[in-house]
């Protein structure tokens, strides 16, 4: 469910507040918002990122990165990990390692990459690779704000790793007018999956 409201904003540029809510109206924190600009908009510049492995957990467990970015996957645990992705966006494997023996991995295509460890099945993390110029994650109050936007036709994508909507990503067109502030309310139609139970004791290794 989407609702768009607009009102007079600052001079020239437009601004947008996106609020993501659960079916009961409570805010969804940590939802990924990707805002694709009008034709001619460019992608954000690639950068370098780190997804560490600490206490058998990927840290952070979700990052949004511009297309072309590189990510290093150090292992700060004393046990070995074996990182893999079978997501079509980027398939790769980092054979059993500790420390940082491998060069950074480049993510050249937009999409969602699910990371796992072939040794520790509970480990999971997500990379959202995007060619959007504006992107981010919603705060505790469920909101994400973009300012200094040009006027024009936009496309917005909203995604959360625990989302259960009928489509993998919520995607909508959006029209912004100059000097107007817009607010977009995105209400999920289904509840989020519960949060993972967290790290099991080190000696556990399911039989």
């Amino acid at each position: 469910m989407l609702a768009l409201a607009a009102w007079a904003g600052g001079a020239g540029a437009a601004a947008l507040v996106v609020k993501v809510a659960k079916p009961d109206g409570r805010p969804v924190a940590g939802a990924v918002v990707l805002l694709h600009g009008p034709p001619g908009s460019k992608s954000s510049a690639p950068a370098t990122f780190i997804v560490d492995q600490v206490n058998q957990t990927f840290t952070p467990d979700l990052i949004v990165i511009p297309v072309g970015s590189t990510v290093t996957f150090p292992n700060s645990d004393s046990v070995s990990h074996q990182v893999y992705s079978f997501s079509p966006t980027k398939r790769f494997q980092l054979p059993l390692y500790r420390g940082t023996p491998y060069p950074p991995v480049t993510f050249a295509n937009p999409g969602i990459v699910t990371l796992g460890c072939n040794i520790h099945d509970d480990m999971i993390a997500y990379l959202v690779v995007t060619d959007a110029e504006w992107f981010g994650r919603t705060a505790q109050d469920g909101s994400w704000t973009a300012s200094n936007l040009p006027a024009g036709d936009f496309r917005i994508e909203v995604w959360h790793p625990r989302m259960r909507e009928s489509t993998d990503v919520i995607e909508r067109p959006l029209k912004l007018e100059a000097a107007l502030s817009g607010r977009l309310d995105v209400q999920l139609t289904r509840s989020l999956r519960p949060e993972p139970l967290g790290v099991k004791p080190r000696s556990w290794s399911d039989y």
């Binding site: 046990v79 074996q82 893999y84 059993l96 699910t114 999971i124 519960p194 000696s203 290794s205 039989y207």
Partner: protein, 399 residues
């Protein structure tokens, strides 16, 4: 089996040690028990420690080696000592090579070759097939640790739906194995028991009801007919898992092995288990197992129907855990000759507290009461009904 282990040991000693890890643990107990003479000492008691074996006892001395070869091969060797006077004091409980290729398109395969446990218990999720909830296992999984070991090869295939944005994972498993022909003898001749002792691959256990004998061998190939198991699991997120396993050792019940003075026991069963976990530290495990074991000596046909159920509830509070389990069990012996078959029924309550101080030190206490009515006890001159109680304190150091 010895060839498999010799190969495994040769691989272990190979110069190209990629990534090896040694686990050592010492588990000591202070035990108070009033049970009947234990099945380890040829009695029909259901406890590991009877009234003649309490006080300070060795719980388990364990050494395990985990070695990776290349990317996807992993060797696990688990050896333990359970009692200083055992036939093979320090012996293997598991030794196998595991092949874990990377998942592809959401499908994951795994192959295990060697000697290992079938995926049947939801209790035993810690290293060395250890139960982190209570010191003693349920009647069902005590029996699994006593008599069952997959000495062969297993293939499992899993669809990782939760990694594809779905709510469920699904898996199938199948194995073919040998050396499990005596499986069934303990549940038939003694009935069910509740403890944490696992039979080692070359070890022996007592021979209930026959007086002092050299001991019974539980892993032996008698009829050269492989057994199998097939199973499936369904997992909802990381909260709920349901498992089914059909085990059949396909033994030829007419075959007798003079070497171990025993028949091949044709044993099959179905097992269904459920584990449910919540975000605030509650775990519920329930399991049901029922099957038949039979032999066909010249004197006629004999079978034992056996079944057991348990429910365990556990609550973790940081490093502290409290758990409570109820077990129910029975066996029913049918024989075509005189005298008629004997039966047993029983139930048990087990309550425990554990504290994991850190990665090295842990402490646990467990109280257990088993009430059973075992008609066969009359052959030892005992009353059939017994209430056996055991209190254990456990101190364990792991490095």
């Amino acid at each position: 089996m010895r060839a498999v282990i010799a190969t495994a040991l040769a691989l272990l000693c190979a110069p190209a040690m990629a990534d090896g890890h040694l686990d050592l643990s010492v588990d000591l107990r202070l035990v108070g028990a009033d049970g009947r003479s234990s099945w380890l000492d040829d009695g029909l008691g259901k406890l590991r420690f009877d009234e003649n074996h309490d006080g300070l006892q060795v719980g388990r001395l364990r050494a395990a080696w985990n070695q990776t070869f290349g990317e996807t091969l992993n060797l696990r060797i688990d050896a333990s000592l359970w009692r200083l006077s055992d036939h093979n004091a320090f012996d293997l409980t598991e030794a196998y090579l595991e092949y874990r290729p990377y998942p592809k398109e959401g499908w994951r395969s795994r192959v295990r070759v060697g000697a290992f446990y079938a995926p049947i218990s939801f209790e035993h999720r810690a290293a060395g097939w250890t139960n982190p909830y209570l010191i003693s296992s349920s009647a069902i999984n005590t029996w699994v640790g006593e008599e069952l070991r997959t000495i062969g090869a297993e293939y499992s295939l899993e669809w990782l739906g939760t990694r594809l944005g779905r709510d469920f994972d699904l898996g199938l498993v199948a194995a073919i194995y040998g050396w499990n022909d005596p499986a069934g003898i303990l549940v038939a001749s003694r009935g069910w028991a509740l403890h944490d002792r696992q039979t080692t691959l070359f070890g022996k256990v007592g021979e209930p009801g026959t007086g002092p004998v050299p001991g019974r061998v539980l892993f032996k190939e008698i009829d050269h007919r492989p057994g199998y198991y097939v199973g499936a699991h369904l997992r909802y997120l990381d909260r709920v898992e349901l498992r089914y396993l059909r085990y059949d050792n396909r033994a030829d019940p007419e075959r007798f092995d003079p070497g171990i003075n025993d028949f091949a026991w044709l044993t099959w069963f179905d097992s269904v288990g459920l584990r449910f976990e919540t975000a605030n530290g509650w775990t519920l495990i329930a399991q049901w197992l029922a099957g038949i074991t039979e032999i066909e000596p010249d004197s006629g046909y004999e079978d034992w129907k056996y079944s057991s159920t348990f429910a365990l509830v556990s609550k973790a509070l940081g490093r502290h855990r409290i758990s409570l389990r109820a077990d129910w069990f029975d066996t029913d012996h049918f024989v075509t000759s005189w005298p008629p078959g004997l039966q047993e029924t029983g139930s048990a309550w087990t309550a425990g507290y554990s504290f994991e101080r850190n990665d090295h030190w842990s402490f646990a206490v467990e109280a257990m009461q088993i009430k059973s009515d075992v008609e066969q006890r009359a052959s030892l001159g005992e009353r059939p009904d017994a209430t056996e109680r055991q209190l254990q304190l456990q101190l364990r150091y792991t490095r």
